[in-house]
């Protein structure tokens, strides 16, 4: 009797214990993006308390908005188990169109930008129909976008349309614009991808494409929609970037490919299985934007090593995540 009761008593307790362990490991995973963001902001506050102000955030996070938009674009592609190595040059191309045609001939500019989104969607179809490696296709496309940008604007120049300057220069009360914009971007992407039924289908196309196809959903359509959305957010990113910098350069977006991938991964995204988090991705982008220069400047790290810091942050976060995942199992 005694011997019989002991295992019974022990088992639920043990099970509860492991379940609590799993919950906390999952919680750490989910909170990791917020944690790293808080860590970077905390470090900045410690090094330079004056930076934590309306004006400070406005200046530090100014360039974070286009990075966040490019990150969301990359997140859609990664959600479908693909990778976009052309988002940076694409942002640059959009920037060149924005600073030239969109100002001088708005109708032509708008048409070109919409056509560019259509090209993105068509790439999704091409990659699916011919089962091509997205890395190579998008790497090839990065030359196409950069070539077009150079043809359009051989020398740095152009000027942002006035309405765009006014929009980006708007100063809302209390909350700095970049933070407000980040909240809106995260909210829209989160609702669309995580809260709608087709959003679940889109994530499913990365999670288990075979099951989704058996259930009667078109994988061609999901691929086209994901790449089309990436194109949309890429266009928004390029336009905001030009609103902030006021003029364009063909190479203006070159660093964005890497920043966007890093943002998605920092934000808790996985490379396979359609596991992405829009809110995490935006936070990842803000972390990258803050860590990429303001923090390093305050820490007196020479500009030579700032690119390395991006890589190091990525590796550290992934190391922490690997540790947490080991505990999860």
């Amino acid at each position: 009797m005694q011997a019989d009761a002991t295992p019974h008593a022990a088992t639920p307790g043990a099970r509860r214990h492991t379940r609590a362990g799993i919950v906390s490991a999952r919680a750490v995973r989910a909170w990791l993006p917020a944690l790293s963001f808080a860590l970077v902001v905390g470090a900045i506050a410690l090094l330079n308390p004056r930076a934590i102000s309306y004006l400070g955030f406005n200046l530090m996070l100014n360039l974070a908005v286009p990075i966040a938009l490019a990150t969301i674009a990359q997140m859609f592609v990664i959600a479908g188990n693909e990778l976009d190595l052309s988002i940076g040059p694409f942002v640059g191309f959009v920037g060149c169109v924005t600073a030239t045609w969109l100002r001088d001939a708005p109708l032509l500019g708008a048409t070109v930008l919409i056509a560019a989104i259509a090209v993105y969607a068509a790439l999704g179809a091409l990659i699916y129909l011919r089962s091509l490696p997205s890395i190579v296709v998008t790497l090839g496309m990065s030359f196409v976008w950069l070539g077009l940008a150079i043809l359009l604007l051989p020398k740095p120049g152009g000027k942002a349309p006035d309405w765009l300057l006014a929009m980006v220069g708007y100063q809302p009360p209390w909350i700095p614009l970049p933070i407000l914009a980040a909240l809106v971007i995260a909210g829209v992407a989160h609702f669309g991808l995580m809260r709608t039924s087709y959003g679940a289908i889109l994530r499913g196309s990365g999670g288990n494409p075979a099951a989704l196809a058996r259930a009667g959903w078109s994988l061609l359509k999901t691929k086209v929609v994901l790449f089309g959305l990436a194109g949309c957010f890429g266009v928004l990113s390029g336009m905001t970037l030009i609103g902030i910098t006021t003029s364009a350069d063909a190479n203006i977006g070159s660093g964005y490919t890497l920043l966007a991938i890093a943002g998605v991964i920092l934000g808790g995204g996985e490379f396979v299985g359609g596991r992405v988090s829009p809110v995490g991705a935006v936070m990842g982008a803000l972390t990258m934007a803050l860590a990429a220069s303001p923090l390093l400047t305050f820490m007196n790290i020479p500009p030579d090593w700032q690119v390395a810091a991006n890589g190091a942050i990525l590796i550290i976060v992934l190391a922490v995540r690997a540790l947490v995942s080991t505990r999860e199992q």
């Binding site: 089962s131 196409v144 043809l151 063909a250 190091a312 990525l314 690997a322």
Partner: protein, 313 residues
């Protein structure tokens, strides 16, 4: 000719040689037959650098889906600086410099695999993160220095016999060796087996981790030696020297008939694809096309060729 046509469907990579030939003929026709030989010499000399890193990339890609080395450009840049700094313009230090570049590249490759294995992250992210750090190291290390190769080394990398560069001959010998290793030796067969089914290869008792470590190290080492040779050929190292080899190394592997899904590789196809890409640029340069248009056409041709060749079945 008929036998060639009959073997074409079996050997799709022959198309890239055919394409290269067509591009060369068009260019020669445009110049009125002038400089055709010199064009081939230059094309061979430029292709060899792509082939060396392409073979490394091929072994990595053959390991299976997701395996790719994105750190090659940064690796080439750093190794070229290391080689030139060790040689220090001194002909007696050439061998030491080459060994240093090789060791630098191999260390980067091994570090890449350490990241992949220890952090269990996809190779794309691991090699990408590593490339950030390598690039910074290169910028910091090579800054403010006039890094020129020793005159003897520069002459050696530019040496040619009857219009065929010496390095090309060496690279062809190396390619044949790589083909034998891939198809006839335990290491190569293991790489193919892992690419076809990693779990099955592991259950069959293959030392999967050791083979993968070896492959990433090999890719890194080839990037390192390529960096040193490039710095010799172009008579100087700089941070951007490896930039074009990210697209080039991936494109020649895929166009050359290696499966991106892994488990199927092709060495001769890499030569055909490399010659095709170099001759495409030569043709566009001969036509006097602007930089923007040249990039646009290169990108479109690569996407077009890959789309026509199709991916995994």
């Amino acid at each position: 000719m008929t036998s060639l046509l009959r073997t074409l469907p079996d050997k799709p990579w022959l198309w890239s040689f055919l394409g290269a030939l067509v591009l060369w003929l068009i260019t020669v026709a445009f110049t009125g037959g002038q400089g055709g030989g010199g064009m081939l010499t230059a094309a061979l000399a430029l292709s060899q650098f792509t082939v060396i890193v392409g073979i490394g990339q091929m072994f990595v890609i053959t390991l299976g889906p997701g395996n790719v080395d994105l750190s090659l450009p940064a690796n080439i840049g750093l190794a070229s600086a290391v080689a030139m700094k060790v040689m220090d313009g001194n002909d007696s230090m050439v061998v030491v410099g080459l060994v240093a570049a090789l060791a630098c590249g191999a260390a980067i490759g091994a570090a890449n695999f350490a990241l992949i294995r220890a952090l269990r992250i996809p190779p794309i992210i691991a090699t990408l993160s590593a490339s950030f750090i390598i690039e910074s190291a290169d910028i910091s290390y090579g800054r403010g220095l006039q890094i020129k190769p020793p005159p003897g080394f520069a002459d050696f990398t530019n040496l040619q016999f009857l219009g065929v560069p010496l390095l090309t001959i060496l690279t062809i010998v190396f390619s044949i060796g790589a083909g034998i290793v891939l198809q006839r030796m335990v290491y190569g067969r293991s790489v193919l087996a892992i690419g076809q089914n990693m779990r099955a290869a592991w259950l069959a008792g293959l030392p999967v981790d050791r083979i993968r470590l070896l492959t990433y190290t090999l890719s890194g080492a080839l990037g390192g030696i390529d960096g040193a040779l490039l710095a010799g050929y172009f008579r100087g190292a700089n941070v951007d020297i490896g930039n074009e080899y990210l697209l080039a190394s991936l494109a020649v592997v895929v166009i050359g008939g290696t499966s991106v899904a892994g488990g199927k590789a092709n060495v001769p196809g890499i030569w055909g694809a490399a010659l095709f890409l170099v001759l495409l640029l030569t043709m566009l340069n001969t036509f006097g096309v602007s930089a923007g248009l040249r990039m646009l056409i290169t990108g479109l041709v690569i996407v077009g060729v890959i789309a026509a060749a199709g991916g995994r079945e």
